[in-house]
Amino acid sequence: KKKHSPNPLHLAAAAAGLLPPVAMSAAGDRSPPREEGRASIRARALPSGPPAGRLIDDILVEILSRVPAKELCRCKSVSKHWFGLIHHPDHRKRLPQTLAGFFYGSSAGTTAQRLLELPFRFTSVSGDRCPPFGASLTFLPNHHLPVDLLDSCNGLLLCRCYHVSDGVGAFHYVVCNPATQKWVVLPSSCKDSSEVATTSLGFDPALSSHFHVFELVVEQNYTQDTELCGVAVYSSETGEWIYKEKRWNRASRHSATVFLDGLLFFRVLDLEYHDCVAAVDTKGETWMKFRVPGGQVDDFGLADGFVQQMLFRVPGGPADDFGLAHGFIQQSQGCLHFANFQRDEHGVGIRLVVYVLKNYESEEWIVKHSIKTSDICGWTDLWLDADFDFIAIHPECNSLFFIAGGVTLMCYNMDNRQVKVISYLGGAKPLFLPYVPLYTESLSLHC
């Protein structure tokens, strides 16, 4: 067993037999053909010099591949040589990657699901617009274009492709890796898009080189509520869909999902209209539900918000979410985070609280961070519906990304309580998908 700290990509790639054994890439390429014997050892004598100066690039990459992603980013500023090494296409696949930025674009208002339509735009974490590769997915052959982008997970993208030959409104799924330009077409799940609340991609290279696609299947009941009735899961290992029925609570069509620890986390309202995070495993067999903090009927008038929205619900309108759009789940540093605003009696957000779900058995949420909204750059009148949209929490650090006022991409650092503007974006209420590049080749994709 390797003793180095888990570098997910490295481990997964090595486990999948995709990388040459670690030390061999340093020395193996140079190992003498057997006939050479002693002569080759002399030939490989290295020039003398200060010890560190003699470290060849391969060895440096060996060392750097064991450094966590955040520290690796710092190492980029050590020297030009190191910068080049870390970015070099040959080495990228061995080095931990982190959040590069976000795909964004308008979310089609007319469809039932949240998705991005072409053209996709990209913003890096520092605000520049250059994606690390072609973001328009032109490597997909013509018969799979145009596409809608549904989800991203650890470097893979889940798309919906329409083609005339599919029939009107019909589509097929494609999962692709834009960094390696590999993709695969999925067989149909046989669920109509009107029946599917969300389609999510689950891929964790640390657990497996295979991915899963989840469709949360819903139906409108007699009171026009959207009820979860099951989950369809595709496994790239079996190449097949399974469907597991589960008559359950109200699901949302518009909330982000999180794939963590082999579970898909999503939002539901339970039978008492309590806001919950639910989870299902890749076999559709284990189901869990956790009430979120602040989702109770007597907290800060949140229930009033629910009730009002239900009373004035417009069919097909945003109120279908039952207020679930507020409060947001995300994976960061290996744990499930939930961020929400506590509101006053008028519904104005007065305090941002971030919780972490430490323990699935005990259902315990720990408060990780709490700050008055007026202390975040002096906001005093934060109308959550109009002024604020959560986007993501950085997978490696305590930074929260959000859109303020519908146009400004900002980042709030929980550690030093500083807010920073990243860039100004056009477009009304764009949808964002975080992107972490994956440079290793995956067995589950092919050309």
Binding site: A23, A27, P51, R74
Partner: protein, 196 residues
Amino acid sequence: MAATPADASSSSSEAVVGGEKSNKMITLISSDGESFEATEEAAKMSVTIKHMIEDGCADDGIPLPNVPAKILSMVIEYCNKHAADADDTNKHVADPADADEDDDNNNNNASAGEKEDLKSFDASLVAVDQATLFDIILAANFLSIKGLLDLACQKVADDIKDKSVEEVREIFKIENDFTKEEEEAVRKENAWAFNE
């Protein structure tokens, strides 16, 4: 014709599997001319040396012009320790039929204890100054000793993880060749990683 006793013994030693290891000693010569002896088994933890032995080049001792004596003795210490561990594991596995419940537990405890022992051995082996650590890495790379390379690289990675950029440059004796503007730009690009 009946085999002579000598023939019988030589063929039986060739036929031995698992239990008996060759006690043949290999001579390794450091860059400064010092000779070290290691069992063939330990020496073969280096894939480079293993090939040489198998190619029959090792009979007069193996010169290692890149590895100074101080480092070579540490490397041999590592190989001895880990070769012995591999051997013990094989011994435990060798007789599953003979093991009963108690034996299993004893074996597990023994191997758990041995693992701890090995871990602390490894930790103290690499608890050295940076220059020596780099020399170990170079030697392990040159000799193709994967376990030692992993161990030493991980140690360096752990060391630099909590260091500032300046400190990392010092450790690796690297000059900062960015201009002020360039360095600013790189830092800005990766601002999230700097806790300032």
